[in-house]
Symmetry: C2
Amino acid sequence: MDIRKQFGANVRKHRQATGLSQEQFALQHDIDRTYVSGIERGKRNPTIVIVNKFAKALDVSIADLFDGCD
Amino acid sequence: MDIRKQFGANVRKHRQATGLSQEQFALQHDIDRTYVSGIERGKRNPTIVIVNKFAKALDVSIADLFDGCD
DNA sequence: ATGTGACTGCTAGTCCGTC
DNA sequence: GGACGGACTAGCAGTCACA
């Protein structure tokens, strides 16, 4: 599976676990609304700094966001 | 600790575990030698596609490359 | 065998929208 | 609420000469 899709799926899973919408989540953590959308759909190829930002925002480890890769 | 430095340190650790020099490693996996150098020194902010490439080249999981990040 | 600055092409990251 | 498009700037990918 494409790593971008896997990463996006994990972001979505953990965001939904927080009960927040993409918009609420984006606003709360100072991220662009459309960027969250793009990430979750696997259309983006984020840098590790962004990965770190999402991990902290979702309150999960970075490893959790790469769960299922391989 | 800066995630770029942590990532770089982990890459270096696992590369050295293979017994290969930066140059040998770079040649073997079709990566530029100076790029490996930049990564290991934490001067680069690679994308997850690159992270995936390094994980496969080093034969470790992606989580291993983020070991020690909080 | 590795560190470093500089460079070009392209894309990551951001902002405005519509459906 | 979320998908998707266009446009823009900052910064990454990839490479080189040189130390």
